[in-house]
Symmetry: D3
Subunit: 321 residues, 6 copies
């Protein structure tokens, strides 16, 4: 998706006009909520906190760049979600963006100075002028970017995207790989890749049509890159709930996360695994897979614990997974 950066920067450096940057800089302000940071989750582009037991809140944390995605981000996303995947203290994840927007289209950060060097470094390895060799390298890079968001899917803990303000380009790629999407009423979405001369290649075209039910609208958005606001997004089904502002959004997302985290992790994570398997396979094969999955899981103590809790109208406590 932001591959074009690679291609663009190498050539474009001299012509970038910086006059558009002021406004952007001004709207980018740091968020200052206070939550306890999770030790061991120290990243440059992500801030990981735990607002409640078993809930992890991942914040894309480059507010001055409007959370535009850079090389470090692509790598840290994989690390962070792999780590959470095997972290027994994490049962549900909320992901949001620090500052004024969820994530801005990457092109904006062209004007932000610092990232240019980053992008140039990425490209500097490829001095070849051969189209075939360049293609191999591009292929590898796109695959790596794809892995960043597929990591969200591979993490068996449910991931709730909490979107406010702009969610553009790579932002759509990101949220379509999440399980549940909530947003603020001021949120807006744009499949921006078409405006960079590209077909989106980091997940939007692959996942979006499978999570909503209006292909006519999906294609209109994909072909035009036009803005879709929160009400249309709700109607399309890309988000399932709209909140008045970022604060209520985050509260709502965390509240849902708490409810999910109160359930058996065996049940919740097995549900995610089976939902994703079912999306990619036929119903008969998916049923066969589910039976194979549960031939082990049904023997878990969580089944007994859950049933007893239900009968006794108590809250079950599940051991770590």
């Amino acid at each position: 998706m932001s591959m074009y950066i690679n291609s663009v920067i190498g050539k474009a450096l001299r012509v970038v006009s910086r006059q558009n940057c002021d406004i952007l800089q001004r709207i980018a302000t740091n968020s200052t909520r206070s939550m306890s940071l999770v030790s061991g989750y120290s990243f440059e582009t992500l801030k990981v906190e735990s607002p409640k037991d078993y809930i992890f809140h991942v914040e894309m944390n480059r507010p001055d760049k409007l959370n535009a995605m850079n090389q470090i981000f692509w790598k840290e996303m994989v690390e962070c979600f792999q780590k959470m995947n095997s972290d027994p203290d994490c049962r549900c994840v909320v992901i949001s963006g620090a500052g004024r927007a969820f994530t801005a289209v990457e092109i904006h950060f062209l004007c932000s100075g610092l990232d240019l060097s980053d992008a140039i470094t990425v490209l500097s390895g490829d001095k070849s002028n051969d189209i075939g060799r360049a293609a191999f390298k591009i292929h590898e890079t796109i695959r790596q970017y794809q892995e960043s968001f597929t990591a969200i899917e591979k993490c068996t803990k449910p991931v709730i995207a909490a979107v406010h303000n702009a969610c553009i380009g790579g932002g759509i790629d990101l949220i379509t790989a999440c399980d549940i999407r909530y947003c603020t009423s001021d949120a807006w979405f744009s499949i921006k890749e078409v405006d960079i001369g590209l077909a989106a290649d980091v997940g939007t075209l692959q996942r979006l049509p499978k999570i909503v039910g209006n292909d006519s609208l999906v294609r209109e958005l994909a072909y035009t890159g036009r803005k879709m606001f929160s009400d249309e997004a709700k109607q399309l089904g890309i988000v399932s709930r709209v909140f008045p502002d970022k604060e209520t959004l985050l509260s709502g997302a965390v509240e849902l996360a708490e409810l999910i985290a109160s359930k058996s992790p065996i049940a919740v994570q097995g549900t995610k695994v089976n939902l994703i398997f079912s999306r990619d396979n036929s119903v008969p094969v998916s049923l066969q897979y589910a039976a194979t999955w549960n031939q082990a899981m049904i023997q878990s103590e969580d089944v007994m614990k859950s049933a007893m809790a239900g009968i006794n109208k108590e809250k079950a406590t599940f051991s770590k997974l």
Copy 2:
């Protein structure tokens, strides 16, 4: 889906508290509509009537257990739908639940006494303590439960689910295997398996995302087990029509069934076969299948009869299928 019963009961017998049962028992009352029973369709857990020519009405008939699913039910569903599938007098099926609810979550029947022995019998065959052997047996049982609802899909006659009040756990598995879903305004739905410590494995996770267009909401429901009421269900598209009460619901369902039964059975059943094939295969393969299907069917007398009826503005009468 109700596999957990098997697992739970063996261990739980001693601790079941029965205090919650009174309310349930009280709300479970027998429905007393009078329709002619269909001879040859005699079941313990299902009542099969024919309210109109070619329409079969299957009623889950354990109102005092809130139609919780037991061993006999799992077997009778297969028998009943296989029988209807090859019964030329059946062209469309309505399925509903007797008594106060469509189907209650199975855990409720823990307090109803009689079913305990049933579930114990099921499990008694497996005295082994080996996890591998238990897994084989569980796998087989889940596959058998899955077959109960896949039988609805294998029956080439359209099946309309008419849901009132509670539709929980196995109820969702059941209705997602139906063709069309109507409900009352007091209907509510819950993917309850998560509360038993399990990923749903009898169809919900496999079929639900393919029949509605809001994956964010589907996952929220699957991870939390929260109630969804009729208006949200209508908006999600899991039901396509809401009626004020059970009586108008059943009238509406039967009316739709009549309309369907008035069409050529060759056309209607071929449509069902092709819709299900298309769900599980790509568009090119599905088109190829449709051409192969119709190379025979288009030679049916029903095509001529239908066309003539259309031209003459008359009602066609189709011979049995």
Copy 3:
């Protein structure tokens, strides 16, 4: 889909009652909008104009037959869309129907005289009475009809269906193969095949469930052939926008087409190719395909041009594709 014509006419010729035709004839009036015809696109059943640069408007042009589909139409559709596919002057297509309706159910044209001979000619080649040989021929014909609409999908330029009034039978097959669907408020839709004793076999059952998110409603429509009006169609998501009348509809469709045509054709057409690939394959395979696609496309000059235009807030001009 209109295969039944073949079967019907051979036998039905003697019994056709013409009394129903008067009304139909009266409502069929020629449309008389003036646009410049595109040279080289001369067809009997289609009129191709270019209302704006890079926009092609294909009009089904047998208004006196309510645009019923005949042999010539099936062939010309393939020719026309193949031609547009390789025509660098075409970047987006609008398709509509001349006269009173988008397309009438084919049976209507039974009363229109002229087409009878057409259908008879088609069938005359098959004098065989052998069911096997007839099946081979039918299979081939259905496959050919399917190709007519698959040609819309194989054309990598986005196709916007602009539907007014009746859209019946083959009309649904046609529009489900388009990218985007707009309609007038007086539009209505009917999966009419069931009334001819047939399962729809030219795309409706294959594509419709994959472009909307309410399987319960889709099946109800497919089993009953009942009319669905524009508001329900909008809610179902089969159309994404409703206009007050045909004039505003066409303006709206052309306006959208202009917006699409202003984008990089590399981006837009690559988006279509990837959306269709993704529909028919799993997410992991589709991601792999997207990376492979873009390993070439990202090296296009359009990426640079688009990025520069974005930065400079100018409009890019893209060379032909």
Copy 4:
């Protein structure tokens, strides 16, 4: 596959010339080996014995009809293999044919008198002359025949086909659904359906190309129906071992069965399940399935028992499955 019988007999009854039958009758002689019959496995067309612990030997047992497949056979195959599937005393199956041949082409039994009435009974239910209705019935019957051999695949115990002399038509369908194929040097094979005017539809065309590696030869055999003798069959890989005569064949097959039965049934049956899943799915999906299968099975006591036996160079005894 032997569907044509249905079609043929209804019309052919009057013209059957019986002159070819004498030879056939003469070569059909009863086999008279003595083994202990397995109680509970009483069939008309199958004889089930247990030559060794855990080994079941299923013998197609209509030697005077050269084991031609009739209605009873189709049903008993399903019953027999379903029963063995859940019978803990069965760990490996050998299937062979009584008398002079493994199985003769069905047409031969046209001259054998008794079966005619059987076939006529099958067809008598379908008095309809409508091609569409006949197609529905035929479809159902073929699907039922297919189930007879798919039952071999669904039975998770390995099935060894021991083929002698003629293996024709339905015989090929049968053995391609088995796990392992051995034969005598006088064995010969023929995909005979082409000589009845039909494409084989009970498994040969679906499974044969996936179990051997010479598509050129497979197609030659399928298009011509020519005889293939044991040496060519060995080279093609349809059989993996050739024996001098029926006696050594059966000894060899039982010996292999004993070896298989001495292994952990958890391991052996899990292997079969995964091999069949892998055939029908991609490598990545199959790997995912295997991991899901073994997440339960690896916790079985058999793993420990097997490992200990290996270390101590002893023979493990596994409890029943």
Copy 5:
């Protein structure tokens, strides 16, 4: 596959050294067998004769170019096989190469003068230097080349490749799309694309591994482009029979074709359709497809005719298809 010609010639024209051509020219001599040409099958690069009733012999007919594939060839292949597909007089096809070799690697014709202009014409349409636009054009051309050989597969009549001497590059693409492969003992094969710096893209990598059973050898051949002679080809299973010379090869191929043509065309062509469907789909889906195919075909008169002929030991005559 021969795409590289396009790319190469535009740039290479000036540097082609012609010194290697003499030998090639000398070994290219015209074949002069006499058979009756089939009227209506007039091609520049193909000669179509009918050596026997219902047998068509397609000869690649540019012996002086060693049957290298040019633009006209790519188009004529599609036309020829589409025509034969709907020609009731054609029941089986033999394809061979005129002159000294089946088909030479395309690079050889670089030295043959005349074809250069052909290739240049192809490329002249693409004056663009944009990599993205070039990619679109290349994609389209490869897809067109692929269609040339997929036409062999879409032709439902069995196609026997009769290979002598060199079969290189596009030759392998061609024969892997055929049903049956025979060759002379002097035949040799080479997946030559690797020597042009390319992955084979017209069928070899897609089809070869699915028609033989030795992936290790297939990959060795694909990675090295080394020659494989007839004995190794026989052992690998890419050919199923080897003949001493071209004359016996053609006799053998025609003899096989005659045998196939003597069978019911309903049976033979249905077999091809089902074999190809089965290759691309799972066994359960393929069985379902076969049942659907035969629900029509089993009602053909050919079934009765074939059965009667079998009983009466006569040769059946089947009407055209």
Copy 6:
């Protein structure tokens, strides 16, 4: 595959009899060939040398443990193959085993002392007694093991397995993920998992049936774990060449590697990518993928270079990839 170690060791520690170890220890001797080590490829369990330009030789290097696979090995395989994948100096890989055997079955190393602590460490993290939690952990570990060999497939450079002596259990998993398999005449193979009470789950059951063409033999091997010697392995096609001893084997493998490395890396690696894609997808989808791949690659300089070299009968030099 060697998952059982995890399960076994925890319980088996006390009962391991060490008496069998002496023989094993004695046959395990260090190999002492001298080749230049590749800098940056420093592993504990693997030795990486470069016998020729662009050829990497990976040697499993725990000869005293008969190259049994331990935790470090599983991780280093991924690292090593990922590194080679992006190392432009590597164009072809040979993998072999140091010492007396390619790889011994893991159980052997139970007696070797040192590894016990390794395996115990792996398991120590899972103190839970819950079957569900254990299942999650096991699933994750199997998936990780699978990744070790899938890394061979994901490395786009061809990998030649050079097998001598024993190749057991995980060894089969490993070599089936390689491209080409050569062996010595004293090599033998065993799908040993069945003897540990397990279905093989690291690739053997998934890949082996797709690379050879004799399913009957594959299943016999998988169900019995019996030894297969080099001649049978050659006939089955699991290896494509047999050498008299290890020295000639390694020479032969390196020679083949040199030939492959002399070709365009664009061509060779693109061939691998397409072969693997084709294995997992249908022919039509694979053809579409190939066209998409080559729309970039055909524009590589390697095409021109290769063609020129061919014309001029020179050896091309390709720049790094």
